[in-house]
C-alpha cells in the first residue's frame, strides 16, 4: 500500500510537476488537487498502475465554494480493493457564475462507469458540465427544472408548472 506522498511522487514522475496544483493536508484525510485538464489521465493511471490500483470510485461530489470566491470543485473519492487504501482527488476551477456557460470538467466516466450517474447528479444539482460524458441529463430533478439547487446563490422555486411548492 502506498502512502499519500508516494502516490504524489508517482504522479510527479509520470506526468511532471504541472498536473498537481497543490494539496490539502490540514484535516485527517489529505487531498491532492489536480489540474483540470489532467484529471482523466491521472485517474486512468491511478486505476491501472499496479502499485496504486484504485479500481473503485466511492463517491464523486460537486461543490460550490460560496458566492464570495466563485470557486467550484469536483471531489473524487477513490478506493483500492486489493490494497484497502483510499485517496481523495480534487479539481478546483474559478467561474463567474454566468448562466450561459456552465463550469466545465472533463468526464471520468470512461475510467469508472460509476462516475456516470454521479456526474449526472453533479450536473443536475450543482450545474457542472462534464465534457465527453455520454449521457449528460438531469437525473433527480425533472428535465425542465430551472436552476441548480446546490448552487449557493440558488433561489428556491415558488412553483412548478402551476403547482405551488412549499
Amino acid at each position: 500500500m502506498m502512502t499519500f506522498n508516494q502516490i504524489k511522487d508517482l504522479l510527479l514522475q509520470k506526468f511532471g510537476s504541472e498536473v498537481i496544483a497543490g494539496e490539502q493536508i490540514s484535516g485527517i484525510q489529505h487531498a491532492l488537487i489536480i489540474k483540470k485538464d489532467s484529471i482523466a489521465d491521472v485517474c486512468l493511471e491511478l486505476r491501472d498502475n499496479e502499485r496504486t490500483y484504485f479500481d473503485f470510485l466511492s463517491c464523486l461530489t460537486g461543490v460550490d465554494h460560496g458566492v464570495e470566491d466563485n470557486r467550484f470543485a469536483v471531489v473524487y473519492h477513490l478506493a483500492s480493493i486489493p490494497y484497502k487504501s483510499q485517496l481523495t482527488l480534487k479539481v478546483i476551477i474559478e467561474h463567474d457564475r454566468s448562466s450561459d456557460i456552465l463550469p466545465s470538467f472533463p468526464t471520468v466516466s470512461h475510467v469508472w462507469k460509476a462516475a456516470e450517474w454521479h456526474e449526472r447528479e453533479a450536473f443536475d444539482l450543482t450545474g457542472f458540465y462534464f465534457d465527453g460524458h455520454p449521457d449528460l441529463r438531469r437525473i433527480l430533478l425533472p428535465d425542465d427544472w430551472e436552476g441548480y439547487p446546490l448552487r449557493k446563490d440558488y433561489v428556491a422555486a415558488e412553483e412548478y408548472k402551476g403547482i405551488k411548492i412549499n
Binding site: G27, A79, K113, W117, P134, D135, R137, P142
Partner: protein, 393 residues
C-alpha cells in the same frame, strides 16, 4: 450547451418497427417504490432499460445547508428508511471522528449501537428476501418475513420510541440507555428466530421454482460490479470478500466474530440473482451471531449500572475543525458514505453529500438487464434490493 446527442436520445428517437417502449413504474409493485423503468422491448425481450428516478427527491443536501449536525440525523433516517439505525451510525461516526472524540465513546454505548444496527440489518434483509419472494411469485415468505420483522420493529420502538425512523444514535452517545429488560427480550427473540430462519430457508432457498427463476439470471461479473461502484450484497454476490466492517474495522467490529458470506455460484453462475439472495440469507445468520455476542457482553462486563448516562459525552457545541472528511460504512445495501466539508466556525456544515449504496447498485441495471425477458427483469431488479428513499435522497 449540450451539443452532443445524449445516449438517451440515440436510444429512443428511432425505433425499429418491431420495437416498443413500455413504461414499468413508477407505480409498479416490483419496482419497490417510485422508480420508472423505460423499457425498449422486442416482444418479450428487453433490449434496453433506462431508469428514471427522482420521484422521491427531497434534496437532502440542500436541507443540510441550514441544519446543525444533530438536526441532520432525522433527515438521514429517511434516506434508507429500512435501515435507519445504520444510516445514523455512519453519520454519527463521521462527525465524532471529525471532532476527535470517537476513541472516548464508552464501550457500552458502542455495543448498543452495534446491537441495534445489526437488528436493523436483519430487518432490512428480511424485507429484501420477503419482497423478493413476492416478486417471483411466492407469497408465503413475504408474510413470514414481515411477521418476524415485526418483533424487531417492536424492540427498536421500545428503545427509541419510533417504529422506523429512530433518531436513536446521537453524536457522542445515545438518545437513552436500552430499556430495562431489553437484553433479555432480545435474547428470547434470537432463540425464537433461529428455527424460523431455518424454516424460511427451506421454504425459499431450496425451492425448485425459486431456483429456476433466479439461478443463472442477471449474472453480474465481478469486474463490472467493481467498475459500476456496486457494493454490499451485490458485490459479495459476485464473489468478492469485501465488507467495510472488516476492511475499515470501525466501531467494535474488530472485537466481534463473524464471517463474510460470498456468492459461489452454487445453483447457477457466480453473481446471479440466487447468489445475491443467498448472501443476504447468510448475512442474517452472521448478524444473529453478532447480536448474541453483543448481548453476552452487555449482560456481563458491560452490564447496565445506575450511574451510566448515555448522554454524558454529548458535546455542548458541535464545531469540527476546518476540514474535508469522507466516512464510509457497511449498510445492509452496501457502502454508505458521507462527505463533509466544514469551515471550523459554525455548527452548520458547509456541505454534506451522501453516497447512497442503492444509487450505485441501481446504475448497473441497464448493463445486466440487456437482452433478458421482462419477467427476468423483475427478478433482477428485486435482487438488487433498492430503497428509493436512498436512491433519490
Amino acid at each position: 450547451m449540450l451539443s452532443r446527442k445524449t445516449r438517451y436520445a440515440e436510444l429512443t428517437e428511432h425505433l425499429e418497427p418491431e420495437e416498443m417502449i413500455i413504461n414499468m413504474g413508477p407505480q409498479h409493485p416490483s419496482t419497490h417504490g417510485v422508480l420508472r423503468l423505460e423499457l425498449i422491448t422486442d416482444g418479450e425481450i428487453v433490449k434496453e432499460v433506462i431508469p428514471h428516478m427522482g420521484y422521491l427527491h427531497r434534496c437532502f443536501e440542500k436541507h443540510c445547508e441550514s441544519l446543525s449536525y444533530q438536526q441532520i440525523i432525522p433527515f438521514v433516517d429517511r434516506m434508507d428508511y429500512l435501515a435507519s439505525m445504520n444510516n445514523d451510525h455512519a453519520f454519527v461516526m463521521g462527525v465524532e471522528r471529525m471532532l476527535g472524540i470517537d476513541q472516548d465513546i464508552p464501550k457500552r454505548i458502542e455495543y448498543i449501537r452495534v446491537l441495534v444496527c445489526e437488528l436493523n440489518r436483519i430487518g432490512s434483509h428480511l424485507i429484501a428476501i420477503g419482497t423478493y419472494g413476492i416478486d417471483i411469485g411466492a407469497f408465503t415468505p413475504f408474510l413470514w418475513c414481515f411477521r418476524d420483522r415485526e418483533h424487531i420493529m417492536n424492540m427498536l420502538e421500545w428503545a427509541s420510541g419510533s417504529r422506523m425512523l429512530y433518531n436513536y444514535i446521537w453524536i457522542g452517545g445515545l438518545f437513552y440507555d436500552l430499556p430495562v429488560g431489553f437484553e433479555e427480550r432480545c435474547g428470547e427473540f434470537i432463540e425464537y428466530f433461529k428455527p424460523k430462519l431455518k424454516e424460511l430457508d427451506q421454504l425459499l432457498t431450496d425451492n425448485q421454482i425459486f431456483i429456476n427463476r433466479t439461478a443463472g439470471v442477471g449474472i453480474l461479473p465481478l469486474d463490472v460490479a467493481i467498475n459500476y461502484g456496486c457494493s454490499g450484497p451485490m458485490l459479495r454476490g459476485s464473489g468478492l470478500k469485501w465488507d467495510l466492517r472488516r476492511v475499515d474495522e470501525y466501531s467494535v467490529y474488530p472485537e466481534l466474530e463473524f464471517d463474510i458470506p460470498v456468492g459461489k455460484g452454487e445453483m447457477g453462475k457466480a453473481g446471479d440473482c440466487w447468489d445475491r439472495y443467498k448472501v443476504r440469507v447468510d448475512e442474517i445468520v452472521q448478524s444473529v451471531h453478532i447480536i448474541e455476542q453483543c448481548l453476552n457482553r452487555l449482560q456481563k462486563e458491560l452490564k447496565r449500572s445506575p450511574d451510566f448516562d448515555p448522554r454524558a459525552m454529548l458535546p455542548k457545541k458541535i464545531i469540527p475543525k476546518e476540514q474535508d472528511f469522507y466516512i464510509r460504512s457497511e449498510n445492509p445495501k452496501g457502502e454508505l458514505g458521507y462527505y463533509f466539508i466544514t469551515d471550523g466556525k459554525t455548527e452548520i456544515p458547509k456541505r454534506v453529500k451522501a453516497r447512497a449504496p442503492s444509487f450505485s447498485n441501481l446504475s448497473v441495471l441497464p448493463e445486466i438487464a440487456r437482452g433478458v425477458l421482462i419477467a427476468d427483469l423483475v427478478a433482477i431488479l428485486g435482487s438488487i434490493d433498492i430503497v428509493l428513499g436512498e436512491v433519490d435522497r
